[in-house]
């Protein structure tokens, strides 16, 4: 058993929605703190809400925990509390050793000074002593790849160069715990690869990591367990894959169904079946059967049914049109059901939305469009980048 290096107990933080009121509360709190009057932090005042509420977890040396959740779930607030920038309203944090943060790297650069000078300044702000910076200086410069521009004022750097310099300094802090917030998406691809390697290097050296990202593949590869946050509450601490499924489920609930129609055609409901069972969960190997229950109020000849699948980022993965498949439904009137079968779905594990439309036979005029009508969850299989699994075969030549 490795030792516990960070302990978070019942951590909570409240915020006020209204700026003026927030300032007022702030003044009251400061005065109360200054006069050592105990404050009742349990109660929410008008317009306040819990941004982070009652979160507890332990982090062991060398362990890597991911924190995921939809926007506004309290991830950044939690990180700021861990980093000691803001004070918790309830609960406590205690940790051993040095805490480093890769959050908004490059804050505190003085634009008129050169890169060299800024390395020293930024390093000191982040808590490095001068001797440590002297020792790490060459590594920092080499990592950033900015040797030629060391004596150029930082204001003449491109934004990418600034971030690279900032990251390089922060990445050489040699911390016991490293907080990483969505910074791995900086710089060009070569630099991103460098960042990932550096983080792996730190992990192998025994640095514990708290990792916040919306990139589920990175989370999955880096973290052994993941905390899913929703509206400030930790839903659970789960092994990565389960947590990621949970997160996708939460996110998909945010997508709202929307139906627009001209009043001539209504899609009444969508049903999905897997192995004859009414469910929306399937693995990539299984067949998906979709039932479109329609109601044609007006009599329409040869309507065109369209089904398109989008992923959680709203990107179209495929569109299928009945007229392009030379399928003719004849004249439709009243209620009925159309079935479409996808043998072996072959999508990578994720949450997908099914969207539908009914068009006129000119395949242009629209009677009805039903977006995000149904969610399907593909589970199991491998977590890799991408959307589909193409049939493939390996050979050694």
């Amino acid at each position: 058993m490795s030792e516990i290096i960070l302990k978070v107990n019942n951590l909570s933080k409240k915020y006020c929605r209204d700026l003026k009121r927030s300032m007022m509360y702030g003044c009251f709190d400061i005065i109360k703190d200054a006069l050592a009057i105990p404050t009742n932090h349990n109660k929410l005042r008008k317009n306040e809400f819990w941004s982070v509420s009652d979160i507890s977890f332990d982090l062991k040396r060398g362990e890597c925990i991911g924190i995921i959740g939809p926007n506004g779930a309290g991830k950044s607030t939690l990180l700021k509390m861990l980093n000691g920038i803001i004070k918790p309203d309830k609960g406590s944090i205690s940790y051993k050793g040095r805490m480093g943060a890769l959050i908004e790297v490059g804050a505190g650069f003085q634009p008129i000074l050169t890169g060299r000078e800024n390395i020293y300044i930024n390093g000191s702000i982040l808590g490095l002593s001068k001797t440590e910076i002297d020792r790490q200086f060459n590594n920092i410069v080499e990592f950033s790849g900015l040797e030629e521009f060391l004596d150029t004022p930082v204001k003449n750097y491109s934004s990418g160069m600034r971030v690279r310099l900032g990251f390089s300094i922060a990445a050489h802090l040699d911390p016991d715990i490293l907080l990483v917030d969505e910074v791995l998406a900086v710089g060009d691809l070569a630099f991103q690869a460098k960042c990932r390697n550096r983080i792996m290097e730190l992990v192998n050296r025994g640095t514990s990591i708290i990792f916040i990202s919306h990139n589920m593949n990175l989370v999955n590869h880096l973290c052994s367990s993941v905390i899913v946050l929703q509206k400030g509450k930790a839903i659970q601490q789960l092994p990565s894959i389960e947590a990621i499924d949970k997160y996708k489920e939460i996110c998909s609930n945010f997508v709202s169904k929307k139906m627009n129609n001209t009043g001539e055609v209504i899609i009444e409901s969508i049903e999905t079946f897997v192995n004859e069972n009414k469910t929306n969960k399937l693995n990539p190997e299984e067949d998906l059967c979709v039932h479109i229950n329609y109601n044609f109020i007006k009599c329409i000849d040869n309507p065109v049914f369209v089904i398109y699948i989008t992923n959680s980022e709203g990107i179209h993965i495929c569109s299928i049109r009945s007229n392009l498949d030379d399928v003719n439904f004849g004249t439709l009137h009243g209620k009925g059901t159309i079935e479409i079968v996808f043998p072996k779905i072959n999508l990578l594990p994720n949450t997908y939305n099914l969207n539908f439309a009914v068009l006129d036979q000119d395949s242009f005029s629209m009677y009805c469009i039903y977006s995000n009508a149904k969610i399907i969850q593909v589970i199991g299989g491998h977590n890799v980048d991408g959307v589909v699994i193409l049939a493939h075969k390996w050979n050694k030549m």
Binding site: A34, I85, S129
Partner: protein, 274 residues
């Protein structure tokens, strides 16, 4: 330097503000120096005259004041025992240690908003570094003072060696006040604007340009007390107002310590709101 076994704790209940105040500052001494160097090296890099800008305002004030006096435009009281430019430069330099110090400390938090909300470091280093700029400019002015003293053939008394002690308390007073003002300015930016107005007016309430006997306000205004003591130490070798000076030194220490403590209490609340 790195202690991989030290335990840090943040808690809603415990209030550790004073215990490690001096310890924290000592640990962050390199950072103070770093902020200080960042400001002074950044400030004059894009100027032709460079550090000379630190003495130009004082010099112009001396010229302007001498002109006003020689033409009897305003009543500046009796300063005859000493050459007027010498009188002015002494007063102005002390006043500027205060006024520039207060301006810089007041602005430091607002200027560093980006790092305050993103990085955890000992925030009072910003205030000390900002005051350091004022001290630095003060030191640059010393050769100018020396030149003016020599030019007019005035030799300060040996008691002038006590002046740094008075300046030390003036500094404590300024930093203490700066702690409060920088917090207020962190939230309400109007303060920085009104401050320059107040300081211009304040200079006229302080016997920098004229003799203290001109206005009764000079004996209430705390900065006046410092300026009067410094002048009397330099020119007469005595302290003309020992009681009020002692009282003021004690007040300075109190303001400095309460300001510092208050700053530490308030900064997390400010950081989450700005």
């Amino acid at each position: 330097m790195i202690n991989h076994h030290s335990i840090t704790e943040y808690s809603a209940d415990k209030q550790k503000y004073t215990e490690n105040m001096f310890y924290d500052l000592w640990n962050s001494r390199e950072l103070v120096l770093c902020f200080f160097l960042r400001e002074i090296s950044g400030k004059y890099r894009q100027s032709f005259l460079g550090y000379i800008w630190a003495i130009i305002p004082a010099l112009t004030t001396v010229f302007a004041a001498s002109y006003i006096k020689n033409n009897n435009i305003i009543n500046i009281g009796n300063t005859d025992e000493i050459s007027y430019p010498v009188y002015v430069i002494t007063g102005i330099t002390c006043w500027q240690l205060f006024s520039i110090g207060l301006t810089r400390t007041t602005q430091c938090l607002a200027n560093s908003q980006a790092i305050i909300t993103k990085i955890n470091f000992c925030r009072e280093t910003l205030v000390f570094a900002a005051f350091g700029e004022s001290v630095f400019e003060f030191l640059i002015r010393i050769p100018l003072i020396a030149v003016i003293y020599v030019w007019y053939g005035i030799c300060p008394t040996w008691q002038a060696l006590y002046i740094p002690v008075v300046l030390f308390f003036l500094s404590l007073f300024t930093i203490g006040l700066g702690f409060f003002l920088t917090l207020i300015n962190g939230v309400f930016r109007d303060l920085a604007n009104s401050l320059s107005l107040l300081l211009t007016f304040g200079m006229l309430l302080t016997p920098a340009l004229f003799s203290p006997s001109v206005s009764k306000l000079n004996y209430i205004n705390p900065i006046s007390t410092f300026v009067i003591s410094i002048k009397s130490l330099a020119f007469d070798g005595t302290i003309s107002n020992p009681k009020s000076l002692t009282f003021l030194c004690i007040i300075s220490i109190i303001i400095f310590l309460t300001g510092w403590r208050f700053f530490r209490i308030a900064i997390p609340r400010i950081a989450e709101r700005v």
